[in-house]
Amino acid sequence: AQQIVKIDGSSTVYPVTEAVAEDFQKAKKNAIKVTVGISGTGGGFKKFCRGETDISNASRPILKSEMVECAKAGIEYIELPVAFDALTVVINPKNTFIKQLTVAELKKIWEPGAQNKVMKWKDVNAQWPDQPMKLFGPGADSGTFDYFTEAVVGKSKSSRGDFTASEDDNVLVQGVSRDVNGLGYFGYAYYVENKDKLKAVPIVNEKGQAVLPSLDAVIAGTYTPLARPIFIYVSAKSLAKPEVKEFVQYYMTHGAKLSKEVKYVPLPDKAYAVSWEHVMKGKKGTVFGGTAEVGVTIEELLKREAKL
């Protein structure tokens, strides 16, 4: 009776999907209803693979275990990259000694072994002051956490535990902006909205350039390894429902504009076109093979998509 598109999953992807959902409903004069929930990428996939949702927001590619679960329930899916997010490492504006950070330094700060050892700035870099570090990061249940640990430490979920974690990135913003010795990481959008309270740290990429997060840097592929694609996964079964299909189409046509509006890095138009083609042709599966990868640039992503 009711036409409802059910979406759940990552809080990182949520703003984009929400924007699309809002405009889509307006465009359809509320004939089609869309719900968007936040229960994390993992949680989203859980519901997705039980067949409870039509679309799952994901801030990382689907993992092996989740693929198995979906397969068990006979759920097939189409993977659609929708935008890029630049994980931003931020410090307090009053912090003057950090000009840039290398991945190695980040690793030194965040790796599990650092717990109870690397407690002060000078433990990371002898030139830094003898002050305690105050670390802030997203909850261990989030895709952001998975990606950051993978990119920095080299192993997903491998991190020290003694940092202030919150599912709510604003809480992290509050933390870093209030504490001179604060350091944290979260999505780019939160940094953009709080530029006056925070300072982003340029990250040194493989080529040795220190790059500040920005739209251009991500599109140019120089902000690595902390730029990452975000996705939606559409259930193949649900695509049979016209309302879901219409929604996905709307997403692919307006995704670029809307993701920019909510401070994400849009993909090139071509990418959305390719994705829509995948939907039309019913190309199921993932291009990531069920493992987390880091440092995938837009260009690379496009290449892979094209091959699918």
Partner: protein, 305 residues
């Protein structure tokens, strides 16, 4: 003639008794719902916890000093969360119990009638404010004030969360204590006043001891509320699994851990998901122990005016 009347009367009576029985049964079932709820809670918690404890030894659960169930390097030391829960509760109770008791005594023994009638319900509003509102209040209002006094204080800490929690709990303590004190019969008070005692002497030496068991249950409820409070801690205490009893530090508590994971909604069956049930069970056992202790206390000090 009586025998004639008997048989229709008897039938009537049987119908009546049957109806009464049925109604009693229905009401009994309603009363049992609360028991079912407890059974349901225990069942859910134990079911998942059993699986959890097959993978994590109880010894490790109780003695490990790290809590990193969602990390690559997994540790399951509930002490870490328990320390946060206890510390924040102690802070909260250090606020709520003295203030709540003073308010209760003040309202029941000192305040003019009008003030009591106004102040009490007004205080009860404090308990009605959504706790998430309190959470942001602690983070954005109380913490900066505290930092003003003590600049070293981190932005997230158990202290400000605890203080706000304490204020939130005040009405639970004061309201129930005040009811208990008001239930102390007037003739006891009159006895004391007739001896030439002042209000303060009467309040402290006669009314409080006489209302002791009621006051104790108020405290118990306050403790359960403190231990079970979630959103304030999740927002303002910084969910950092930190084995500390220092209220100036950030820490995670059992409840804040549970919402964190519940929000993330880890896959069913993963050990990370089961930790919330083990943690929930710990919490439940803790409050249960408190309530039983309260019950015993009340039985022992039952008022006999």
């Amino acid at each position: 003639m009586f025998t004639q009347a008997q048989s229709p009367r008897l039938a009537q009576r049987r119908a009546r008794v049957l109806k009464e029985r049925a109604i009693e049964m229905v009401l009994f079932l309603a009363a049992l719902v609360s028991v079912f709820t407890t059974v349901g809670i225990v069942y859910i918690l134990v079911k998942e916890s059993v699986v959890f404890f097959q993978q994590v030894s109880i010894v490790a659960f109780l003695t490990d000093t790290q809590w990193t169930p969602l990390f690559d390097d997994q540790h399951f030391g509930i002490m870490v969360l328990l320390s946060g829960t206890l510390t924040s509760s102690v802070v909260a109770l250090a606020i709520a119990i003295p203030l709540g008791t003073i308010i209760a005594i003040y309202l029941s023994e000192f305040a003019p009638f009008k003030l009591r009638e106004i102040a009490k319900p007004f205080l009860e509003l404090l308990a009605g404010v959504p706790t998430i509102v309190y959470g942001f209040f602690a983070l954005l209002f109380v913490t900066p004030i505290l930092q003003w006094f003590y600049p070293e204080l981190p932005g997230f800490n158990l202290l400000s969360a605890g203080i706000v929690m304490g204020v939130m709990i005040i009405p639970y303590v004061s309201s129930i204590s005040e009811d208990a004190m008001r239930a102390v019969p007037m003739n006891l008070r009159e006895g004391s006043y007739a001896m030439g005692a002042t209000r303060f002497q009467t309040a402290v030496k006669v009314v409080v001891p006489a209302a002791f068991s009621g006051i104790a249950s108020a405290y118990i409820l306050g403790i359960s509320r403190a231990v079970g409070e979630t959103m304030i801690l999740a927002v303002a205490a910084g969910m950092q699994p930190n084995l500390t009893f220092n209220p100036l530090e950030p820490a995670a508590t059992i409840t804040s851990y549970i919402v964190q994971v519940a929000l993330g909604d880890l896959p069913h069956g993963s050990i990370g998901y089961q930790t919330i049930f083990a943690a929930g069970l710990t919490l439940m056992l803790f409050t249960f122990a408190c309530n039983i202790a309260g019950h015993v206390l009340r039985k022992r000090f039952r008022e006999t005016y």
